[in-house]
């Protein structure tokens, strides 16, 4: 089974991910690719405590994710992969030999140098360039916070 959702969300795992997407997709495994959480046992425990019992979670850093992308792509479970920033997802798309073909911009909030694109997506010029470069290689990139909203293609984003 292919990865069900590959999402960039600076809130990492939260309600929209677990409930909004996880329920309709029937997610059985959430992979969080985040170097800081990977190194923090306390944070990991909090996530484990809060997730539904039938949803497994793995915490990996970027290198570990690159090494295991094919494994998750072939996993019989429905897998969602989440990164906290554009740069990490870009590394997985470009280094992942075509495993990640679609990227969901789920939540990238206001920050220094970022311009508003949607209510829940703010991008810096560098982040926009990175996403356009990924798109040029064939990745389909859309913004969509929850499944019930209409996906917005990258080229339609303001800013």
């Amino acid at each position: 089974m292919t990865l069900s959702l590959c999402r960039i969300d600076d809130r990492l795992i939260h309600g929209q991910v677990v409930i909004g997407w996880g329920t309709p997709l029937g997610a059985q495994l959430i992979v969080l690719v985040d170097d800081a959480v990977r190194a923090n046992q306390w944070e990991q425990e909090i996530y484990r405590m809060a997730l539904p019992h039938d949803v497994a979670v793995e915490f990996v850093n970027r290198d570990e994710a690159l090494a295991r992308l094919r494994e998750w792509d072939a996993d019989p479970r429905r897998v969602m992969l989440v990164t906290g920033d554009v740069e990490t997802m870009a590394a997985l798309v470009t280094g992942g030999e075509g495993v990640i073909r679609r990227v969901n911009l789920g939540g990238i909030h206001a920050g220094p140098g970022r311009h508003p694109c949607l209510r829940y997506v703010y991008l810096s010029d560098d982040e926009t360039s990175t996403l356009r470069r990924l798109e040029a290689t064939g990745a389909v990139i859309t913004a969509q916070d929850v499944p019930t909203t209409t996906p917005v293609p990258l080229h339609r984003l303001r800013g």
Binding site: D10, R11, L12, I13, H14, G15, V18, I19, W42, E43, I46, Y47, M49, A50, L51, P52, G107, H109, A110, G111, R119
Partner: protein, 125 residues
Amino acid sequence: MIDGLQGVVIGHGGLAAALVTAAEEITGVHGVLVGISNRGCDRGRLEERIREAIGGRPSVLFVDLQSGSCFFAAMSSLKAMPDLRVVTGVNLPMLVDFVFHRAAGLEAAVTRAREVGEKAIEGTR
């Protein structure tokens, strides 16, 4: 703000503000509860909002959803604040009760919030 233990309600969208307003309307007591929304916040900004709302006071942080961003930000805050406790699944009855029984202290407030919150849920036909 009234002295002593305060309640900070944190929730998705406009929920926290609405719960605080409703609790104040029912009890007539103002200044005990503060509401925080996660709207427009990444994790770091949400934790900032929690720190600002708590302001160094002993507080019970009432969270709406256990698997949500508010919960994760609350739990991260817990580590750095010894006079903070977290209660999940906030509902109006537990907030109304908290307003009148917060003098009992942190631990008692958490136990009571849990009991009152659970007891308030009934299924009827």
